[in-house]
């Protein structure tokens, strides 16, 4: 009897909530209508393509209708997990991703804090502009610059090292696999550092000046101010960006690796997206490519939720 009443109560509550929803919806109909295009946009570009995931369970052939395709269950995934190359590729992807996250967070934050401490406005502006310009240069050009600089044939880096007497033979940086991850990380930092700094500078600008004044009155020196005011002030920005980039951990793209890699460093340069391209699309194995993509998305979702949950627990910051 009691159970029935509670369920009835729940139902009425649910009904009421629904009625409330429709009432608010009608009241705010213009706002809802304004958001409609974006919902359609998201649906068309993010959800509708998910239908294509069915390909991963087929032996897909172009120009055959959906009904005519061969269904093969999890065969494509089995092939994927049985391939040695896949594990090598995962290792490279994760390694470069982690290195990228560590450097890609530490450097812009330090740079932003340092810029913030600069007194001369003119110099600050100058440094900021110069540092974010590389962001607008395409990877193709950056790869060209990096290759030239690291060249053993009058490359700048080798010339400097030789001049300093650190080495007596030019080093073929791009010919050694174990340098590759580092080169990728450093060139990525060089290209994106200034751009990523902007967001932290904006967050720092949002910190009230009164806090700094109060700290100064209490006798805090500049280091103490940074540690106790600036960094905690931008903590939520840092955490949110970190959660998002953990979600993208295995989706690191392939431009850098593709453009800077060569056959000698193949074991270190091949990444998941490149693998999906070479062993999927280029060989017309559309189903296999889709399977890699699904794997990619599933892992990303898991990572995203884990990171989000962890940070929610530890720092009480989260994006959901």
């Amino acid at each position: 009897m009691k159970a029935v009443t509670t369920s009835v109560q729940q139902q009425t509550r649910k009904l009421k909530r629904e009625r409330n929803f429709w009432r608010t919806a009608i009241r705010n109909k213009y706002l809802y209508m304004m958001s409609l295009p974006f919902i359609i946009w998201v649906f068309v570009f993010s959800y509708y393509p998910l239908w294509g995931w069915t390909m991963a369970f087929q032996k897909y052939k172009p120009a055959k209708s959906f009904g005519e395709q061969d269904w093969v269950g999890f065969d494509q995934f089995k092939t994927l997990f049985q391939d040695d190359t896949f594990y090598l590729v995962m290792r490279n992807t994760l390694a470069m991703s982690f290195m990228g996250i560590i450097a890609g967070f530490a450097v812009p934050i330090i740079f932003a804090v340092l810029l913030n401490e600069v007194r001369s406005m003119a110099f600050k502006r100058f440094a900021q502009t110069i540092s974010y310009l590389p962001h607008f240069v395409s990877w193709v050009v950056v790869a060209g610059i990096v290759t030239k600089m690291l060249s053993a044939d009058h490359g700048t880096v080798n010339e400097i090292l030789m001049w300093l007497g650190l080495i007596d033979q030019p080093i073929q940086f791009l010919a050694h696999g174990h340098y590759f991850w580092g080169i990728i990380t450093i060139s990525d930092v060089w290209k994106e550092m200034g751009w990523n700094t902007i967001i932290y500078l904006a967050a720092i600008a949002g910190i009230s000046q009164e806090m700094y004044e109060a700290a100064r009155v209490d006798g805090a020196n500049r280091i103490k101010q940074i540690w106790h005011i600036t960094l905690p002030g931008i903590r939520s920005t840092i955490v949110i960006l970190l959660i998002m980039s953990i979600g993208h951990l295995i989706q690191i793209g392939f431009e850098k690796q593709f453009l800077l890699g060569n056959n000698l460093v193949r074991d270190y340069s091949q990444v998941l997206d490149l693998y999906a391209l070479e062993y999927g699309l280029q060989l017309s194995r559309y189903s296999f490519g889709t399977a890699v993509n699904i794997f990619n998305s599933v892992v990303s979702i898991i990572l995203l939720f884990t990171a989000n949950g962890l940070f929610k627990k530890i720092t009480k910051e989260s994006i959901m």
Partner: protein
């Protein structure tokens, strides 16, 4: 970083959408398929009526880039549009052409004319191209005449005798008058050393070594480079791996070596002879004669290096390094240009660059099921294959680009000079050379009914094209062209299968993935063995061979062998 991953996921989603569209699009294709025979029979009854030259724009996709394409606004293009009413809206693949073809094949929206070389298999699998057998029979007398005796070679496969492609890459009766491959040495090297014989890798190495000892630096103080290789992406085949079989007496069958008598197929890196070739390259590296950047440099760096004139030796094809050499010629540094030598491991091995294949059908133009008017399209292609059309494509317009003097076609001196020295602009303005891959045609060395050659490549013309330094070097070697140095076609037995790289592998064959794996292994291991310490060479080579076996190389060989045998049957029955 966020930015990039967004783009990559967008790219992947686009692919998925494209795939979906392909699924939806198939119905339309079937309709078109059903519709085309109607159109052909309709026009068939009216064929007595004057030719339809109303404007018609056809889309055209080609897997080969054509950087000088002028949207048919060149002189030949205007002429063609005037004669046939057809304008081509062309798209040329840039970058990874095979991938581009895959995408188009998957999209379900096909260009009207498709020239996709080996990727045509993807279009055939997708049902995207028309069977041209009847169209050729009814509307294309010139094509029929052109391919007479070779019609069985046009058929797609042993299981599918349809004709999907009009072969346009290989000319009928093609003769080669000049060599563009082999091993290259700068003219200044052989000249300074008193024209030594360059026949074996030892001769080649000695020439480079001796010259470097005399001139370690160029006039600007930069070190001269002994030998550089071009290993950026697919150039790896041309400059690193193909020379391995050429220098050991094998002919070009892609990644395989095929016994001409038994048709036994071997992955060519497994031949013991080739181990010796790579050992020699390893030795070149150890001696410091090989450019240490060979496997790191990108294609543009390679070309820039050649254009600097510092590179003494190359192992490449002229079309691959030509841009660099052109820059040198434009500066008048003719002695920095390259000569071609038939270098092999030892003198008893014949360099097989000119091993004859017979007429090679396969790569060419196909008409898609989306084509609005297949009949007019085939007539257009037929016009290009006619005597008039071929002379127009190759020679240009009479009175403008050539004159007929005493029944002979002659290119006026000033036109020829522009053709050689201002090639890009000349091509853009006149269109000469832009239309040759559009339809079937005769090869170099074939004469038309008027007794003139169809193409402008014939011995006299080629000899006239050599610069003075080249002529001097050739004379010193008692030759008139580079080809004279190479073994002749007649010395080899014709390969009844053409060439293995020209045999399409079915898209769902296991061989596709195995061969991709093999290429990955080879492209990684070959640079490694070349750059290894000579003492480690054998160890790494053995590890490489074992890796190949582990990757199922034997299975790939047996699949290829079946394909080769099927091709021999198809072409020779």
């Amino acid at each position: 970083m966020n930015q990039i991953s967004k783009w990559s996921s967008l790219a992947l989603s686009t692919t998925l959408v494209a795939g979906l569209l392909a699924g939806c699009g198939s119905n339309n294709n079937n309709e078109d398929n059903a519709a085309s025979p109607d159109t052909s029979s309709n026009t068939g009854t009216e064929s007595a009526a004057p030719e339809d030259t109303s404007p018609l724009t056809l889309t055209y996709y080609s897997e080969d880039p054509s950087p000088n394409w002028a949207n048919m606004q060149d002189e030949i293009g205007k002429n063609l549009t005037e004669k046939t009413g057809i304008t081509l809206d062309a798209e040329f693949a840039v970058g990874d052409a095979v991938q581009k073809s895959s995408l188009i094949a998957a999209s379900g929206e096909y260009p009207d004319l498709i020239s996709a070389k080996q990727s045509i298999a993807k279009f055939v699998d997708a049902g995207a191209v028309l069977d041209l057998t009847d169209l050729i029979d009814k509307y294309a007398p010139n094509l029929k005449k052109l391919f007479e005796g070779n019609m069985s070679r046009l058929r797609y496969s042993d299981d599918d005798h349809a004709i999907y492609v009009i072969p346009s890459y290989n000319g009928i009766g093609q003769e080669y008058f000049n060599a563009g491959g082999g091993f290259e040495l700068q003219h200044r090297v052989v000249k300074e050393l008193g024209y030594p014989q360059i026949r074996t890798v030892a001769d080649y190495e000695k020439a480079i070594k001796d010259y470097l000892a005399l001139h370690p630096k160029d006039e600007n103080g930069n070190p001269n480079i002994g030998l550089t290789l071009n290993a950026d992406d697919w150039h790896m085949y041309i400059s690193v791996t193909n020379p391995a079989f050429l220098a050991t007496g094998g002919s070009d069958d892609g990644e395989f070596n095929i016994n001409v008598d038994t048709q036994e197929v071997t992955y060519h890196f497994r031949r013991p002879e080739e181990k010796e070739y790579f050992k020699w390259l390893n030795h070149m590296n150890a001696e410091g004669l090989l450019d240490p950047e060979s496997f790191v440099q990108k294609y543009d760096q390679y070309k820039a290096k050649i254009a600097s004139g510092r590179v003494l030796g190359l192992i490449d094809q002229d079309w691959d390094y030509g841009d660099g050499e052109k820059a040198l010629k434009a500066e008048g540094k003719f002695e920095y240009g390259y000569g071609h030598y038939p270098v092999t491991m030892s003198e008893d091995i014949k360099e097989a660059s000119f091993w004859p294949t017979g007429f090679m059908a396969g790569s060419g133009v196909a008409i898609s099921v989306d084509n609005p008017d297949p009949v007019r399209t085939i007539k257009f292609l037929d016009y290009l294959a006619s005597d008039e059309g071929q002379v127009l494509m190759n020679w240009g317009i009479e009175g403008k680009h050539y004159n007929v003097v005493d029944g002979k076609r002659v290119i006026p001196q000033e036109v020829n000079d522009r053709k050689i020295n201002d090639a890009t602009n000349f091509t853009k303005e006149t269109g000469i050379g832009l239309y040759n891959l559009l339809s079937g045609h005769y090869g170099d060395g074939v004469k038309d009914p008027s007794g003139n050659y169809y193409t402008t490549n014939f011995p006299e013309q080629i000899e006239a094209g050599f610069n003075d330094v080249e002529k001097e070097v050739l004379k010193a070697y008692n030759s008139t062209t580079w080809k004279d140095l190479f073994p002749k076609e007649e010395e080899f037995k014709i390969k009844p299968w053409g060439a293995a790289w020209n045999i399409p592998v079915p898209g769902d064959s296991e061989a596709v993935v195995i061969e991709k794996k093999l290429t990955d292994i080879t492209w990684k291991r070959i640079p490694e063995v070349i750059l290894a310490k000579p003492a480690d060479f054998d160890k790494i080579w053995d590890a490489y061979q074992q890796e190949l076996v582990k990757a199922d190389v034997e299975k790939a060989e047996s699949i290829r062998e079946d394909l080769v045998k099927a091709r021999v049957k198809l072409w020779n029955e």
